[in-house]
Amino acid sequence: MYPALLVDVTIFVLALWVGFEVISKVPATLHTPLMSAANSIHGIVLAGAMLIAVTAHNALGYVIAFVAAAFAAANVVGGYVVTGRMLKMFRRRPDVPTATVPPATAPSNGSTHKGPSA
């Protein structure tokens, strides 16, 4: 009855199964970066936000498009950056303990405290 919807539902369900298969193999050690990576992937909603800017033709439409674009961009940029920052810390061996501490993991980098505002 609704062929387009039917195709969409098929894609959705199959992607769900692929997701279950792939993600169940991620070790517990990486669960936080995994969730953060998943977070950045749902930043694809930025594509949706861009497309509604096309059909926006009144003030309310522009406001919605602006907020949606801001939300989605924060999501996608922040998600990828923070995931990369976390994954950089996971190493098999500390590289020459005490001598060279990479800047991103130096104990003192906590000085710039920042809450989760966005």
């Binding site: 936000a49 801001a70 989605a72 990369g84 500390p94 993991t105 966005a118």
Partner: protein
């Protein structure tokens, strides 16, 4: 279908493949970083394709361009700033905020589509639009409350009032009932009532959930966001959104299940009531009596320095005291004496799935030393000293007996080690509100201090003892 549309669809398929491949590469810490880069490349490709659509369509006004670019610039800058500066202990709040904005953006896509379509919209589109708006709005407000609780801005204890459950049911009924009505008779004004009901429902859903349940809540809201984004994909007919949303929904779903299992609680149980508010807490079986033995830094140092195998059991107390660098320093000293040191990490040790691993990785602990519960439990019997730092309920042997608030919860078998040292500020209870039988075990010594100070003192004592 034009050549342009063909190319765009194929590019979206490429982007979706990058997402799947990126997630696949996260199955090993060695390839995970590359996986994130693959996923980022996929995202860049998808955004570029979408930009091509916007240009090709030509319908966008100058204001539309300005709004889109300004919004993306403001949001991108905020996202970049918070991602660069956030402390690892505050990661759950940040992830929760990303859930909020993702869900919010998805809801707005639905709202815009609903309003611009007017009464010409077909029933099938309406269903997905309303699902998108409702799920997105619930995720938005719920995630903000969760982030507030994690940050300590909002009371992290379960906040509840008489009739709260009834109010929740009522809100859900309004959102879904009115939503169903709107499918039959599109009405932009009534949609705002649906949005408000969904937003309030998000707040009232998360408020009664206690701090210890946060790993489950964040995972669940993550799944919600994914679903909302997939629904937004249905609304605007974009497969990239549908596939990405489904992947995130699957990820959030799996993590929710894992976290709930690790606490031996059903998801329904967590959503409906806070910890210790049920009847189980009243039925606490009195644990075996016994006295608590405390220990000085010197004695703890002797035990640690002459052990051959030490397992460190970090809990949220370690993160709260920001002592991950101190514990890594102690482990370094012990390792330099040839002692086998590893970390036993319970799935709910932090405030989100895998949080403790990130904190220890930040302190330069190599990931092969971080062991999951099922792998490490058989090792406790061969362990000379188990050093428990700020972990409580997940080490309580009472979980093995029926009739306690934590019965059936999988625990770390710390009590099987030859000797146990517990660093704790006081004899206070964990979230379950019951005595920990481990503390009165004759093999256990208690070291009453803040985790950071205790670990520095122990490290100094070990160094003095072995003369380094």
């Amino acid at each position: 279908m034009s050549t342009f549309e063909w190319v765009i669809q194929l590019v979206y398929v490429l982007a979706a493949s990058c997402f799947v491949l990126g997630l696949h590469m996260m199955n090993n810490p060695a390839t995970a970083r590359r996986g994130n880069q693959v996923s980022t490349a996929g995202m860049g490709t998808a955004i570029a394709a979408t930009l091509a659509i916007v240009i090709h369509d030509g319908g966008i006004t100058a204001t539309g361009w300005a709004v889109m670019i300004a919004g993306a610039a403001v949001g991108g800058a905020l996202g970049l700033y918070s991602a660069r500066t956030v402390q690892m202990t505050a990661m759950p709040q940040l992830v929760s905020m990303f859930n909020a904005v993702g869900g919010g953006a998805a809801a707005l896509v639905g709202v815009h589509d609903y309003m611009s379509a007017g009464s010409t919209v077909s029933a099938s589109t309406s269903v997905t639009t309303l699902l998108d708006v409702i799920i997105g709005a619930v995720t938005f407000s719920g995630s903000i409350i969760a982030a507030g609780k994690l940050q300590g801005v909002i009371n992290s204890a379960p906040v509840t009032f008489p009739g709260a459950r009834l109010v929740n049911l009522l809100l859900a009924a309004v959102a879904i009932g009115l939503g169903a009505y709107l499918i039959a008779a599109p009405n932009a004004a009534l949609l705002s009532i649906v949005i408000v009901a969904a937003l309030v429902f998000g707040v009232s859903m998360v408020m009664p959930i206690g701090g210890a349940d946060m790993p489950v809540v964040i995972s669940l809201l993550n799944a919600f966001t994914g679903t909302a984004v997939a629904m937004a994909g249905f609304v605007i007919g974009n497969w990239a959104l549908i596939i990405a949303g489904a992947l995130v929904g699957a990820s959030g779903g799996i993590l929710t299940k894992l976290m709930a299992d690790a606490m031996n609680r059903s998801i329904r149980n967590i959503i409906v009531g806070g910890f210790g508010t049920g009847d189980a807490a009243a039925a606490v079986v009195a644990g075996p009596g016994g006295s608590v033995r405390s220990i000085a830094a010197d004695d703890a140092a002797i035990q640690l320095a002459y052990a051959s195998k030490v397992i460190i059991v970090p809990g949220y107390g370690l993160a709260a005291a920001q002592a991950q660098h101190e514990v890594a320093a102690l482990a370094d000293v012990l390792e330099s004496r040839g002692i086998d040191v590893s970390y036993a990490i319970h799935p709910v040790a932090g405030r989100m799935p895998g949080h403790m691993n990130v904190l220890l990785a930040e302190a330069n602990v190599p990931y092969p030393q971080l062991k999951e519960m099922d792998d490490v439990n058989p090792e406790f019997a061969r362990t000379d000293v188990a050093l428990v730092i700020g972990a409580n309920d997940v080490t309580n042997p009472a979980a093995r007996r029926p009739g306690t608030a934590i019965s059936g919860m999988p625990i770390l078998d710390v009590d099987q080690a030859k000797s146990i040292i517990v660093i704790k500020r006081s004899m206070g209870h964990g979230y379950a509100g019951i005595d920990n039988e481990l503390y009165v075990d004759p093999k256990t010594s208690m070291y009453f201090a803040d985790a950071k100070r205790a670990l520095s003192e122990m490290t100094a004592a070990v160094k003095t003892l072995v003369g380094t």
